[in-house]
Amino acid sequence: MNQAIKHVWVALTAMFVICLGALSYIQFFNAETLNDNALNKRQLFREFDLPRGAILVDGKPIAESVETDDGQFNFQRKYTDPELYAHLTGYYSLANGTTQLESELNDWLTGSSSDLLFDRLAGMFTGQKAEGASVELTIDGKLQQAAYDAIPDGLRASVVVTDPKTGEILSMVSKPTFDTNDLAVHSTSEAAKNMKKISEIDGLSPYVNPAIGDLVSPGSSFKILSTVAALESDDYDMNTVIKNPASVNYPGSKDKMNNFYEGICGRRSEATLEFIFAQSCNTPYMEISQKLGIEKFADVTERFGFGQQLDIPQSVTPSQFPTKDITAAQLAQMAIGQYNNKVTPLQMNMAAMAIANDGVIMKPNMVKKVTAPDLRVIEEPKPEKFSTATTPEVAADLKSLMKGPVQSGTAMNAAVPGVDLRAKTGTAQVRNENGVPIVNSWITGFAPADDPQVAITVTIQQVDYNTGHNTAGAIMKKMVEAVFNK
């Protein structure tokens, strides 16, 4: 009997030892794998229980963590004016993930950035919970509101306002928009329900900021770049007379490139760039594109930022000017901003910035400064050069060319008395999902000409021609008025 009891002891001890083995495996040998498991939300939960830094505009929080006792977490992310800033802040949500600035600035906002290492170490000894840093944006609250008010509801449009001398983004608004608070609720089921509702809004993706993420054809606004390419070459200058037929065959095709049928272009069968640019004639660019060739265009677009990685700090979708296997006809189309020439609204704003700032593009940026919980400034980005887009001489030529559209051409409806606005419009002909022909309307420019304070870009996507052309100009006008208090 005693022998049996001893055997029982051996058996039980063996079972205990196996349990210890399993615990060692889980807690030591396999711990890292478990911590990295996709189902493991512990790191996230930990973040949600800590005060997260605020995102500030004009010193006031547009996103902040407020204490809550909903039983789930200690803090709830709260957005002030959520619709105004939705595309910038994004949202911080357990169920729907983290997007835009909330995602890009996460290391600072949670305090896990290496810049805050000493604060964390100090926290370990004082027992204080780590608080995140707050981030002040370069956005001008008044301009942001003005842009939001300028865009009529129901349109799919974006407005970007920057300071061409520093690259600071002063306003970046897109409609349609949504309430980020709806996606940041802690209840998973409610968050999922709200996400579904928001996803059903036409023309809206809660994951994409249209001003830096939507690629659309620039239409004639791209002629800023085409004209830079022409003026940089030896073949063209401001006085060169270029043929301006009403229509011209694409090389090797029966299809024709036309000048705008209602336009003034038809009045002259040949003209200098001044007339061509102001009236946005198309056919001269057929000749220009064939004479310059694809390399020249590839060179100019790259200098203006096409195909480049850019973080503002959100990652900007690189604009596209494809150069592989492009026929002469396709190049001609791309030279007037059609075909596979696709840009973000910010890219066309950078084009205006280049002309405004003597050919130099300053790196667009939205972060003014990062402040630790003890008010120590951790980071204050200095203005930085992004690229030299063209020579000061060519920039000066373009500056004068861009006067035409506002004074007597396609951008007259944006003119504000007393402000010397320089701009270029664009109307890209596209088809919507149902094959119905519609347009993307553009206007991009800067003011005032002698000492540019702002570069402004307005984009309206998928709209009928009249609404697009009229509204883009009207929005531009309202923005200029807002900037200069007219």
Binding site: A4, V8, W9, M15, L20, Q27, F28, N35, L39
Partner: protein, 465 residues
């Protein structure tokens, strides 16, 4: 008796010292929980530890009076485990805003007082042998109670609860003890018949049917628990107890095989016919499948427990520093995972070593016991404690499917506390009987507390081992 004989020493002072140490461990745990979670109610923890200490002292004093040769390690280990459990339940309370710990403290008090009552009333475990068949009857009643309409209740899918006034009880927990008493009593009286009588069948010696009938009843009872009450954990426990008792009584591995075959039949039957057993196995095998993880009654509980333990790592997050409350049932079924997270692999290893030590001391009492009944009872009770630990820890660590067994002395739950404290009282009594000095003649009188004449035959049969 083959074990080494040492001069019997009471060792009650050692017990007192260890008891102080155990209370210090519990108090430290409470203090850490309080300081880490900024719970300024430090009075609370002093009161809780004060009550715990007073209760432990009651048992200690009773032992000094009635069983002064009892094992000095059993009580301090139990007190340490119970206090640690209280501290963890308190910690989960603070996170969730519940008040389970005061309830648990109340149940601890009831359990310890009942254990004291058992010490005082029983004094000599051999008395219990007289209640062999009453114990079987009691087991049947206890197991059937939850099925009575109006009294029983289904919680978390298992119909193992009864409502008595404001309390809900799991009478099955007490059945562990009554079944142990029955098995021990029955086998100590009939082991010779079972061993000798009957036909030989190959290498196996099959007993006569009528000698096995009560065992079969007990086995059927276990199957019944599984089928009717849907309580996998208790079924495993009863099966285990059944096999162990037969093995210890007969010392024949062939009986273990017969027992295991019977269990296999029951298990296969259960797996084939009962959805909830099948689902448990599926959840166990495919725990990390996102679909199973998100399903209701899916693997979220066990997987979250694993994540928690992995998060704790070697040293743990510190008491109050982790988030064990993310795991469902963090203060009962999953309390080992909560400890794993907060005191790390090192701390949880210490807890498991305490359990191992406790079970070893129980089996040591069985080895030392001078009567067959005592040996069987002590090994049955110690094994019950050990098996509970292994099954629940194995479940939490995903070695085996998770069952709803309580971690002894730690998990929130009054019935389990009560039953396990009674087990401790009985083990203490048996260990006292094993370690006390021989009074006069060693002989048949050791077998039974009060000499009866009717069972002389049995007595002679068992004394010579």
């Amino acid at each position: 008796m083959t074990e080494v004989q040492t001069a019997p020493v009471p060792r009650r002072n050692l017990e007192l010292l260890l008891l102080l140490l155990a209370l210090c461990v519990g108090g430290a745990a409470f203090f850490l929980v309080g300081s880490a979670t900024e719970d300024n109610d430090s009075k609370n923890f002093l009161i809780q530890m004060g009550i715990m200490g007073a209760l432990a002292l009651v048992i200690h004093v009773l032992l000094r009076i009635f069983a002064k040769y009892a094992d000095p390690v059993i009580l301090p280990i139990t007190v340490a485990l119970n206090s640690l459990g209280l501290a963890m339940i308190h910690r989960i309370d603070l996170a969730k805003g519940t008040s389970q710990s005061s309830r648990q403290l109340m149940w601890t008090a009831i359990a310890i007082l009942v254990a004291a009552l058992v010490l005082w009333a029983v004094k000599d475990h051999r008395v219990l042998r007289r209640f062999t068949y009453i114990a079987l009857l009691a087991s049947i009643v206890l197991l059937l109670l939850p099925l009575i309409p109006g009294l029983g209740a289904t919680i978390n899918g298992a119909r193992i609860w009864i409502h008595v006034g404001p309390f809900s009880l799991q009478p099955g927990e007490l059945a562990k003890i009554t079944l142990s008493i029955f098995f021990a009593g029955y086998l100590s009286s009939n082991r010779d018949l079972i061993l000798m009588a009957g036909r030989k069948f190959g290498p196996l010696q099959l007993p006569r049917m009528r000698d096995m009938a009560p065992m079969i009843i007990a086995w059927l009872l276990s199957i019944g628990v599984l089928v009717v009450q849907r309580d996998l954990g208790s079924a495993i426990l009863f099966f285990g107890l059944f096999i162990l008792m037969i093995y210890v009584a007969t010392a024949r591995i062939s009986w273990v095989i017969i027992g295991l075959l019977m269990v296999a039949v029951g298990g296969v039957f259960a797996a084939l016919t009962m959805g909830h057993v099948e689902r448990r196995v599926n959840v166990w095998l495919n725990a990390f499948d996102p679909e199973i993880y998100q399903a209701r009654g899916g693997s979220a509980q066990i997987v979250e427990g694993l994540f928690g333990m992995a998060d704790g790592g070697l040293f743990g997050t510190g008491l109050g520093g982790g988030s064990p409350y993310r795991v469902p049932l963090a203060n009962s079924d999953m309390i080992i995972a909560s400890f794993g997270e907060e005191i790390g692999l090192i701390g949880v290893t210490a807890i498991i070593l305490l359990f191992m030590l406790l079970v070893s001391r129980g089996l040591r009492a069985a080895l030392g016991a001078r009567d067959t009944f005592g040996k069987l009872l002590a090994s049955g009770l110690a094994f019950t404690l050990g098996l509970q630990c292994v099954v629940i820890i194995g479940g939490v660590t995903r070695l085996i499917p998770l069952t709803g067994l309580a971690t002894p002395f730690m998990a929130a739950g009054g019935s389990s506390l009560l039953a396990n404290w009674i087990i401790i009282a009985l083990l203490l009594l048996i260990s006292h009987n094993a370690r006390r000095p021989m009074s006069g003649s060693v002989g048949p009188t050791d077998e039974i507390a009060t000499p009866t004449t009717s069972r002389l035959k049995d007595r002679k049969a068992v004394t010579n081992q």
